[in-house]
Symmetry: C2
């Protein structure tokens, strides 16, 4: 199956979806469901069944482009509507550009679909209760707070002094008819009259590179607005180790990193509130998924012990946090919940991802791979769940690749070599200026597939190239003793050529070897073979956009049928949404810490040995 | 018994005690035990038995003055030492000026004596534990916080982000040998090495007029330093009602009152730390007793509902408070515990007083009266406990009395009329300039006793005075149609005469009537008669200094043998100390809220009727 025909490999790895009436366009990996694509981008579509086609609520209409009719569409929507272009969004796969009409939300649901087809019952930590109280008298001198608490006595609530400060005045001004706002076990405020129909929270994916915030309507479980931004900590280094090192060299670095994290989060929060038309003071809770370093930096916690063996976290979980602890000024008593971490290198982002992709529940043997400088790998079969972290190194970061760049306009993101020559997909309608991570993997995979790079990772000698592919020979050059392949020539780029160097290939080999050594050892510990794996979920902002075919080709993932390699999307962000919408899921995240067996790679004596074996690319 | 001879009435109502080697002099009510006088003033004397003469630890030596030998002195101290002037401080009564030597503390006690002879087992909320931890390894990757918590796993502790921020660095710098500082269920910090031998807290009596702070050594239960200060909120009015009114008229008043409370507390805390030579950052907890208005103002809680019927508190108790909530900057995570309140007019100060005077335990039928603008009354017999609040009005505040002033130098504090004439005791060795509360009560009581004021409260006609006491006749004058009695003539004062006016007498009658109506109705509800009362405790900064004899004479307290009327001292402050030293006592304070039955006077239809009856002074 790794010998897929070349023209298939040239299928677009991303497609553009336009949603109406929101007039919002997004680019998503090919094969993602329309429902997920909408949800990841803050477009709300009704759904309560977890994408099984049973709730029949997620109907959308194709305006431009085409979606094949799924097995349940006719039963759920009726023949006529299907003829009119209606489809169930959860079963509709985006395999080409689409323009889609999303109907307005209907009834208030009791559940929502988030993550990778996870149905989540709406049981948020944020609760609102409308109460009408009797006025105090000389024979009923209960204190203001007891009068309120007695009216919600099925809850055991704490009340902080800040709330008490204005409680008396507010109760009287509202003539004793108020809505109580509760987060978990804390009464955080009262509001005049009945405001139970609105409640918002923000779910955050605090990545080392990219930070994503989603404003959620907690009463319906639907996204209202989503924004992403580069983490403002970037000047301190692209990866967690550089940022930890910065704090070890300069005592001012930690407070600076903390405030940069806070600035990033505050800007994003302001943006989603603005876009969603929601008063920040009406946002009651924030949930955040991030790796251990990002979380410790955001909380101002010295990260040094995370960076040196034996890699110790200050704490796996944090309770009693407030949004202000993350630099967020929302409701004055807004709470914050941070997803717990399993270890210094299997952080809350991975716990969120495991939760969002159902790694603890799905009965299939599945492998979850979050590709990045540090690559986290989880394996589970619904009975047992194990995790490890592999030090993949900086290959997927732009800096270590000669013409590396982020997935931004001008980046080559797909590469296909056909009989006719080479075809590069470039982000944005601009000339190519560099190579992003998925382009790197594609380029190497294609050169290996057509035999211009051998399985040891070496460019073929110039004479062999001239023999094999005379049409491409001119693209192989040598500068300062290093051989390189021009993905885009100077003519094509309108400037410097965009090249893949021999060293770039080596960087990718190191990363690939670390990752595949990781999942191979993990599968062995789990007692499973590569061929037993029923699904591979590629996660993280990099993994999501990776071509499954190329990943298989270079041996980054198990050699499975390509359909079993699935883009999981921003699962960390989805996990953050899930714990915002559901306390049971939040408890599930904590339970995962006990359930997941962690395998430490850095003290495995066989790691280096296996690593060397894995440096080679699979022979086709 | 109300017909006591005149020369007895002239016995000093206060005495001066000098403690060596502290070189500290204090003035206390006559009859107070030397132990209490020392404790109230920050002088530590060993004691663990609650003043029963059994622990034999509280020996002190009389250097000047005399203390009669008590029934247990010889048995406890031996004949020789008693001859040398040694006495048990708990049984030694101060009936005259004394100079006393206090030996240094010996062993670390497990209990301390505070309040009115209350023995308190040392079980403070503040705990320290010295732990030596194993360093983490790749096979023991417990988080820093779990490593610490595992070492104190008999406690269920929470850890806040602030502590986590530096935990890793501190543990490593201290080479994993640290002392854990715990307050209640919170781990508030770690300290390098073994610091278990030192721990401090501050107990605060936040009075409307006077604020008292006592720095306590929590490891021994002994006071280290005590300071008092006028509440800086005074410019907003002398009593709680004026301060509440201020917040109703001006929205800026509440934040201003809060910051004035904070300034008062911060100054006192700085003073006791300085005097005690204790680093404020090593003070881990603050306990505070205050009336409901003082507490709400200090916490920035709108007090308006306290000031108008039906008199509603925002909350009876406050949990999760920090010292910073009271404006105190001590240990960065120092906690604060505020004594809970029964009602708007039976506040945490009264709960503290009831606790410190054992109103919930003593088997005798006792009446506790805190005399002030608002007079709180508690009755209990160890089985049952009831309380009420009587609106005594401003008679005891300086402002409503013509020559009224605080108990400060120049204030007439005692008045005795003998056959030879009038003798006034003045605070400080200065000429009289005014009249404080105890002087007012003495003056009226003496004039009633000798018949110059009749039982209806009226000055006798001038001709009758000239007949009865020609020696005093010249002191009765009339200005602007109002009759007045010169306690000090212009010659004696060296300026304006210090007078008692007919209106002053009326003010006192109103106060006295409210108070005695209060305790009479309370005793009736309790099912007891006036003569059943076995002890009356006079509390509050005013009540403590009141002459028992005069209080009986004007009918302010039940007509009992004078020895049964006891000055209880600053019981609110003592209660704050008790809850600082003992969690069981703290729980006892909360339990009191359920145990005390509150009787509301303001909706009693018989109150006014009874009040009018009580306006008259008892006939002798």
């Amino acid at each position: 199956m790794t010998d897929a025909p070349a023209d298939d490999a040239a299928a677009p790895s991303r497609v553009t979806l336009s949603f109406e009436p929101a007039a919002k366009s997004v680019r998503v990996p090919t094969g993602v469901s329309v429902f997920d694509a909408a949800s990841w981008n803050g477009i709300a579509i009704d759904s309560t069944c977890g994408g099984h086609g049973t709730c029949k609520k997620c109907g959308i209409r194709v305006l431009d482009g085409s979606i094949p009719v799924s097995r349940l569409d006719v039963r759920a929507l009726g023949e006529e509507r299907v003829r009119d272009g209606w489809r169930l969004a959860c079963l509709a796969t985006a395999n080409g550009d689409l323009r889609i009409e999303v109907p307005p939300l209907t009834t208030r649901p009791k559940a929502a679909t988030v993550g990778v087809g996870r149905q989540v019952i709406l049981r948020p930590a944020v609760q609102k209760r409308y109460i009408e109280l009797e006025e105090p008298t000389l024979t009923d001198q209960r204190t203001d707070v007891v009068r309120v608490l007695d009216a919600v006595d099925d809850l055991e609530l704490r009340v902080e002094p800040r709330v008490l400060a204005t409680l008396g005045r507010e109760l009287r001004a509202a003539q004793w008819k108020v809505t109580v706002v509760v987060v978990d076990e804390d009464l955080i405020g009262i509001e005049a009259g009945d405001t139970t129909s609105t409640a918002h929270g923000i779910a955050i994916d605090l990545g080392t590179t990219t930070v994503v915030a989603t404003l959620m309507d907690i009463t319906t479980g639907t996204p209202v607005a989503v924004r992403s931004m580069l983490n403002k900590q970037q000047p301190f280094g692209a990866d967690v180790i550089s940022r930890i090192s910065a704090t070890m060299l300069d005592p001012e670095a930690l407070p600076r990193l903390q405030s940069l994290a806070h600035e990033t989060l505050a800007e994003l929060a302001a943006e989603v509130c603005e876009e969603g038309g929601v008063d920040p003071a009406a946002v009651y809770e924030v949930t955040l998924a991030g790796n251990a370093t990002m979380v410790q930096l955001a909380l101002g916690i010295d990260p040094e012990p995370l960076g040196v063996a034996p890699f110790i976290m200050a704490s796996a979980s944090y309770s009693g946090l407030r949004a202000t602890d993350l630099g967020l000024h929302l409701h004055p008593s807004a709470r914050a919940a941070v997803l717990p971490a399993l270890g210094a290198y299997v952080g809350g982002d991975i716990i969120a991802g495991a939760l969002a992709s159902g790694m603890d529940r799905d009965k299939r043997l599945r492998l979850f791979i979050d590709v990045g400088t540090n690559c986290e790998i989880v394996v589970g079969d619904g009975e047992r769940i194990m995790a490890t972290a592999a030090p993949a190194g900086p290959a997927f970061e732009a800096a270590s690749i000669r013409n590396g760049m982020r997935a931004a306009p001008g980046a080559i993101e797909t590469v296909a070599i056909t009989h006719d020559g080479i075809k590069c997909g470039v982000i944005g309608e601009v000339a190519p200026v560099g190579l992003c991570g998925s382009g790197l993997v594609d380029a190497v995979a294609e050169l290996v597939r057509v035999g211009l790079i051998d399985t040891s990772g070496r460019f073929l000698p110039p004479e062999s190239i001239a023999d094999a592919r005379p049409d491409l020979a001119a693209r192989f050059t040598e500068v300062d003793g290093e051989r390189r392949f021009e993905l885009a020539t100077a003519v094509e780029s309108g400037g410097d050529p965009v090249v893949l160097t021999q060293r770039d290939v080596r960087e990718l080999q190191f990363a690939k070897a670390a990752i595949s050594t990781g999942w191979r050892l993990l599968l062995e510990e789990f007692g499973a073979k590569e061929s037993d794996v029923q699904q591979v979920l590629l996660a993280g902002s990099f993994g999501t956009y990776l071509s499954a075919r190329s990943a298989i080709r270079i041996g980054l993932v198990p050699a499975l049928p390509v359909l079993r390699i699935v883009s999981a999307g921003n699962v960390a962000g989805e996990g953050a949404k899930m714990v915002l919408l559901s306390l049971p899921e939040r408890h599930g995240a904590t339970a995962l810490l006990d359930e997941i067996e962690y395998m430490e790679l850095s003290d495995r004596t066989d790691f280096n040995d296996r690593f060397v074996d894995e440096l080679a690319f699979p022979s086709s």
